[in-house]
């Protein structure tokens, strides 16, 4: 049944650090790679080498510019995938029971054998986390790499979602957000982790860490280039051989002053 579980034992999810993300899209590529070769139907591309290529992705990185009232605009890279909501509207709208939220870890999954590809779950998702695969005709979404995180055939350090494992900046964190003592929960508490579109009432499990304030130079110093004092010439009058050569060359016709 596509009723949501009242509670889940754990709330596995991601914490994404908007301060650290450099917008390299490595998570997008590793996600597509892993999920094309493993769980469920492959993530297909249409017209991949033609004039109008498009394809199915479970994770995409947007970039936003934020212009504060005063000061410079800030560019913020913004990875977005399924937030594995506690009150997931995509699950309850499913007419076949293909969409479900797991009681044991809160992961939202699609049983592709039951999916009729009606698209209503994608309509109900405010985050654009679900994409209908045009080749397979079934709905695809982030599985939190359910085939990695419990996979004992993989070395232990690889038992986390492909996007987290690959992130070169360490901007993505994986863990149990239902356990207040977990690393991710402490990170969220320390950095003021936030929900996307809280007004939608979806109660996302994934949290986003807002960018931290940038370093500002002390207001009392007028000097902006803090390195300049260290790079200033230490001796103006040169002595020794180079000093003699300098003076000798100056004396030749055409030499300066």
């Amino acid at each position: 049944m596509t009723d949501l579980p009242h509670t889940t034992s754990r709330k596995m999810g991601l914490v994404i650090d908007l301060d650290t993300c450099v917008g390299c899209h490595a998570c997008v590529i590793s996600c597509k790679g892993w999920n094309t070769e493993n769980y469920g139907a492959p993530l297909s591309d249409q017209d991949a080498y033609g004039a109008d290529p498009s394809g199915t992705f479970l994770n995409r990185v947007h970039s936003y510019e934020v212009q504060p009232e005063q000061g410079h605009a800030q560019l913020i890279h913004f990875p977005k995938s399924c937030l594995h909501c506690e009150d997931a509207p995509c699950v309850t709208v499913c007419p076949t029971g293909a969409s479900y939220k797991r009681v044991e870890d809160g992961i939202v999954l699609v049983n592709e054998e039951d999916c009729i590809g009606c698209g209503l779950c994608a309509w109900s998702c405010p985050y654009g986390a679900r994409e209908l695969d045009l080749a397979a005709g079934v709905m695809k979404k982030c599985t939190l790499c359910v085939d990695r995180i419990y996979n004992e055939n993989l070395p232990e350090e690889d038992r986390q979602p492909a996007c987290v494992r690959t992130c070169p900046a360490g901007a993505r964190h994986f863990g149990d957000l239902g356990d207040p003592g977990s690393d991710v929960s402490q990170l969220v508490a320390a950095r003021g982790g936030m929900d996307l579109m809280p007004e939608m009432g979806t109660k996302p499990v994934n949290k986003y860490l807002p960018p931290r304030p940038k370093d500002t130079l002390s207001q009392t110093h007028e000097q902006i280039d803090v390195l300049a004092p260290f790079l200033a010439p230490v001796a103006e009058d040169t002595g020794g051989f180079l000093g003699w050569l300098d003076r000798a060359l100056d004396k030749l016709p055409g030499g300066s002053n």
Binding site: M1, T2, D3, H25, D52, P53, S54, G55, T56, F57, R60, V61, H62, S63, Y64, E65, V66, Q67, P68, E69, A73, Q74, I76, F78, K80, P89, T92, V93, C94, P95, T96, G97, A98, D114, C115, I116, G117, C118, G119, L120, W123, S124, C125, P126, Y127, G128, E131, L132, D133, L134, A136, G137, D195, L196, M197, P198, M200, Y208, P210, P211
Partner: protein, 296 residues
């Protein structure tokens, strides 16, 4: 939202079909034999034809039967169950009317209620979506579907008196839906600021999309083609669906033939008008996911 032809055809035709079944179930008109057969043929052709059209946009139509299972949580599943129940119940009632010259009033009333219930469940599929503020209007969205279905049903059933009242009601609901719908997105409070959570820091704008090409989300949710004609299409849709059919009914004509011809014209105009407003229903609807792409 992308106005998929299959969904427009489905909601328009099956709305009319179930509207007609509602009136037939209540014995309006109380027909038997061959005349009843023709009435039920039209009603079933519209209702079933619409339902079949709706399966065309599925990725796996062969699994559509699985959609009857989740009636506890899903409006789409409830719609499927309700539609089949309505068609079966009205089938029993129609058998009595066509072959046995008898009207089983209770069965007819139940069938009428289920027919109207089907239209209601269809409307709730859209009205439940918080992600599309223009649709997420209860009771306005269900009222729109129900009044249009009833008005069309009355027209098809030849119930002129009811048709005039219901057309007027549907027209008023349509105007209210447009008026309220135009403000729904702003009232929902969702913006790029809440979508990114960055609103408190300053003015957020989409700087770079995640990809150079298009994708499923943009094709499905950020459909903007033809929105610039929205006002003109509203006038055309309103005229065809409401005003002109009313005029056809009000025109004082002599003779049964002329009356029938005008009624037929009213039906054709009404269907074209409802299809036009249904196209707008989808094309004008803005999904909040468009915000992430800096689109509406």
């Amino acid at each position: 939202m992308h106005p998929a032809p299959s969904v427009i055809v489905f909601t328009t035709l099956s709305g009319l079909g179930f509207g007609l079944l509602f009136f037939l179930g209540l014995g309006m008109p109380e027909v038997t034999g061959m005349v009843a057969f023709v009435f039920y043929l039209i009603a079933y052709a519209l209702a079933v034809g619409g339902l079949l059209a709706s399966t065309f946009h599925l990725g796996h139509p062969e699994r559509a039967w699985k959609a009857f299972s989740q009636w506890r949580s899903s409006w789409l599943s409830r719609e499927g169950c309700c539609a089949v129940a309505a068609l079966l119940t009205m089938g029993v009632y129609a058998t009595g009317a066509v072959f046995l010259q008898s009207h089983w009033t209770l069965v007819g009333a139940l069938g009428a209620a289920l027919s109207l219930g089907t239209v209601f469940t269809t409307s709730m599929i859209y009205a439940q979506l918080k992600t599309v503020p223009r649709w997420n209007m209860v009771p306005l969205t269900p009222a729109l579907f129900l009044t249009l279905s009833l008005a069309g049903g009355a027209l098809l059933a030849g119930q002129e008196g009811q048709a005039m009242g219901l057309l007027t009601l549907a027209g008023l609901t349509l105007l209210a839906y447009w008026h309220q719908g135009d403000r729904a997105f702003a009232l929902s409070g969702t913006s790029l600021a809440t979508a990114t959570g960055l609103g408190a820091r300053g003015d957020v704008r989409a700087f770079e999309p995640p990809h150079t090409g298009t994708n499923y989300l943009l094709r499905e949710f950020a459909y903007v083609v033809g929105r610039k004609h929205a006002t003109r299409l509203r006038v055309i849709g309103f005229a065809l669906a409401i005003a002109l059919p009313l005029l056809c009914l009000l025109l004082p004509v002599q003779g049964l033939m002329a009356k029938h011809l005008l009624a037929a014209l009213a039906v054709v105009l009404h269907i074209a008008g409802v299809a036009c407003t249904r196209w707008l229903f989808f094309a004008e609807a803005e999904h909040v996911v468009g915000l992430y792409y800096g689109k509406r």
